[in-house]
């Protein structure tokens, strides 16, 4: 397709192209993907909205500095494969990031059009290009450089580990990924639900890495099955990258948290996503039977949105988000909040749980909550919620999901005491190289930052890959294309 010539006036007249989606009252009963993706026509139309800034502000908002102006131009020109490849110069998992990045806080926030109109739908376009390449069977395997003879172990197969493995294998190193679970992908498979990120996409990215020669070992828990020291000393690895994520669920620490029906978000989502308990009894793993029940999810992040929308899909009569601040403070992606509301999720803001109450058989029957109001701003600049005296009441619920964040799993720390950790038990690294305090050991992703984002984890994996490569070969490089 040739470039379409339009006047500036025509350009500004194009509204932001909505992402086609399943109808809310249909999708809240199934686990199929909510968003259906742009058609080529919609994508081109949206791409035409980009004014091709000389100094594109959008790029500065993207943590991995994708050449956004260039790939959008390629879409506008109808060169969809070219667009996909342009994105992949900087982002190895575009089909995933296009779907899950908090664009409104990153690239789309800094897009010049945000001030006057609405930003270019950069995430949607990124997703379109990546899907187009994959669905038309045009994914090209990158070339792998001649073998360097160096062996690197990557611990954890989340976005940090996968992107690190991807860069290292292309640079000619031998790469083995050790994953604790029986499936690869980290939060992308056990946390983020199918309706937001189809597992087929994650699988296809991992298959690509397998074809490049990355060796994956599942059911291998670092710190138990094998230690970092054994990898370096006994198994002959020249370097180790730790990308084990933030995998220790926090609880509220209030009475009644061990009642039957109180879950961590990790457990609830793992049962449903990884163990596919929504297909019980075809799959053996059960999960709380939400049908006709009242479910409350405590928290306001992406994880909370995923949990509450999952409960709704499992048949919950009422599915609540209970959050102690106001909606403006919720850290979840805007699109998820919007989708959740459309699906019938009820938002109970400025409410703090004090205690869970149960019946004689110890099944949860309710959450005693306290209403809050917004007070003075705190250190983070967010207005601090303060309790309204005497406002306690009991919210009748049958299931509670705690989604207030994760700490660091203690296994690596316990078995590798010479890796320095912070007070919060995250691994301390030099942010330029991701090197830890232990020689030849690097780390990145949520284990370093605490729960963050897919794109930041990916970026960290790539930074580490570059530093490992330079250390092992003594060569300076640019990131592989």
């Amino acid at each position: 397709m040739a470039t379409q010539h339009i006047t500036t006036k025509e350009r500004f007249a194009i509204p932001r192209q909505e992402m086609p989606a399943q109808k809310a009252d249909v999708r809240n009963k199934n686990f199929k993907e909510v968003n259906l993706g742009y058609t080529p026509e919609l994508a081109q139309k949206e791409a035409l909205r980009c004014i091709q800034c000389k100094d594109p502000a959008c790029i500065k908002g993207c943590p991995v500095n994708i050449k956004i102006d260039q790939f959008i131009k390629l879409i506008a020109d109808g060169n969809f494969l070219g667009a996909a490849r342009k994105i992949k110069e900087d982002n190895v998992l575009p089909a995933i990031c296009g779907r899950v990045c908090p664009q409104e806080d990153q690239c789309e926030k800094t897009c010049i059009l945000t001030k006057k109109h609405t930003s270019v739908a950069i995430g949607n376009l990124e997703r379109f290009a990546a899907d187009y390449e994959r669905e038309t069977g045009n994914v090209e395997l990158p070339t792998v450089k001649a073998s360097t003879g160096k062996k690197i172990a990557v611990i954890g197969s989340g976005p940090a580990g996968l992107s690190c493995a991807n860069d290292l294998i292309q640079l000619g190193h031998s790469v083995t990924v050790f994953e604790a679970l029986h499936e690869l992908g980290g939060v992308l498979v056990y946390g983020i639900p199918e309706f937001r990120l189809p597992k087929e996409i994650v699988k296809s990215e991992i298959d690509g890495l397998k074809k490049l020669g990355v060796n994956f070992i599942t059911n291998a828990v670092a710190g138990r099955s094998i230690t970092v020291d054994e990898l370096l000393k006994e198994e002959g690895f020249d370097a180790v990258f730790i990308g084990v994520g933030a995998g220790l669920p926090w609880f509220l620490g209030i009475p009644g948290e061990n009642l039957l029906g109180v879950y961590s978000a990790n457990e609830f989502l793992t049962r449903v996503n990884l163990m596919k308990s929504y297909q019980f009894p075809e799959n053996d793993t059960p999960v709380f039977n939400c049908k006709g029940k009242n479910v409350a999810v405590f928290g306001g992040g992406n994880t909370a949105m995923d949990a509450v929308r999952t409960a709704k899909r499992l048949g919950a009569e009422h599915a609540y988000i209970v959050y102690r601040r106001s909606e403006a403070e919720m850290p979840a992606r805007l699109e998820e909040v919007h989708h959740a509301r459309e699906e019938g999720i009820e938002f109970l803001m400025l409410m703090n749980p004090l205690e869970f109450v149960g019946n004689e058989q110890q099944w949860l029957t309710g959450a005693k909550c306290l209403r809050m109001e917004l007070g003075e701003p705190d250190e983070s600049g967010r207005r601090r919620p303060v309790p309204i005296k005497g406002s306690e009441f009991i919210l009748p619920i049958d299931m509670a999901v705690i989604s207030i964040g994760n700490g660091s799993n203690p296994l690596i720390k316990q078995t590798t005491p010479d890796i320095e950790v912070s007070k919060r038990d995250t691994i301390v690294v030099d942010m330029n190289t991701m090197a830890t305090s232990k020689d030849d050991v690097y780390a990145g992703g949520d284990i370093v930052t605490g729960g963050a984002t897919v794109i930041l984890a990916m970026g960290a994996g790539r930074t580490a890959a570059k530093a490992i490569h330079e250390k092992l070969t003594g060569i300076e490089t640019v990131q592989p294309v």
Binding site: V221, R224, S225, G247, S264, E267, P281, N283, T285, L411
Partner: protein
């Protein structure tokens, strides 16, 4: 994929299965367990490593058919394969020379207590074992236990073999006989472990139990296995499974293990139906 090397029934419904898992065989210590997923649609089930042969690269588990997953596992024979095994998980048993150590196993708990009894013996303890079962046919590992014991007792609820009564009664008898007991390890059904804790509490005998909450990942990621010990939340899969019996909230553990009763029943019935059709 892991190949089953041998599989034999030790008693009705209790099977001893030896499986190829070289990495785990090399690493495991007494008190540790694996998570096993029998097939692609299977759940992750925790099972103690009863024994291992690092040279052969195999581990041994002893499985009691309870519901769908364990019964399905017990239909497996030598030559069959298991989809996934991960381990060794959990904190190994704390082993030292206590002096006189009593290892108590109830039912299939005997299999879980066995590796720790071996380790206690190797550490130079005077080891007494008490193994309880409902009746004679259900007694397992009798010879193995004898081999590591300075004194070995069997108890049966119905008196069909050994001491007639519960393991708690036998333990009380030993205490009453004036023996100094420095350490007790008790593994079995929750009511048994709870009762043992009450027997030793007045004498301040250090007593450990191995808890069996429902688990999902076994790596500390989900918190489903949380138990209350000394009024604090602990994750049994990483902090345990062994805990100080005098600090454990057994009531909460009993309740939480009932979480999926209707689903477990449904699953077991569907499995029984499938078996009947074959």
């Amino acid at each position: 994929m892991h190949k089953i090397v041998s599989a034999i029934f030790l008693a009705e419904n209790i099977k001893k299965i030896e499986i190829e898992a070289p990495r785990i065989a090399k690493k495991r210590k007494a008190g540790q367990f694996i998570m096993i997923r029998v097939g692609q649609s299977g759940e992750r089930v925790p099972l103690t490593i009863a024994d291992s042969d690092p040279e052969k690269g195999t581990i041994t588990i002893i499985v009691q058919g309870m519901g769908k997953s364990t019964r399905e596992l017990n239909t497996k024979e030598a030559g069959d394969t298991i989809s996934d095994i991960v381990g060794p998980l959990g904190t190994p048993s704390h082993i030292e020379k206590f002096g006189t150590a009593v290892s108590i196993g109830g039912g299939v708990g005997t299999a879980i207590a066995y590796p720790t009894a071996v380790a206690l013996k190797e550490a130079g303890n005077y080891v007494i074992t008490i193994n309880g079962a409902r009746s004679k046919e259900l007694v397992i590992l009798e010879n193995e236990m004898k081999a590591v014991s300075d004194e070995a007792y069997i108890t049966t609820d119905d008196g069909s073999y050994g001491f007639h009564g519960f393991v708690t009664q036998k333990l009380q008898e030993l205490i009453d006989s004036g023996k100094t007991i420095d350490y007790v390890l008790a593994i079995g059904p929750i009511p048994m472990m709870r009762a043992i804790a009450e027997v030793t509490r007045p004498y301040n005998i250090k007593t450990m139990v191995s808890l069996n909450p429902i688990m999902v990942d076994g790596t500390g990621m989900c918190g489903g296995c949380r138990v209350t010990v000394d009024n604090q939340i602990k994750f049994a899969c990483v902090d345990g499974p062994e805990f100080d019996a005098h600090q454990v909230d057994f009531t909460n553990l009993t309740d939480r293990n009932k979480l999926y009763l209707p689903e477990e029943k449904k699953s077991a019935e569907a499995f029984a139906h499938k078996c009947n059709l074959q």
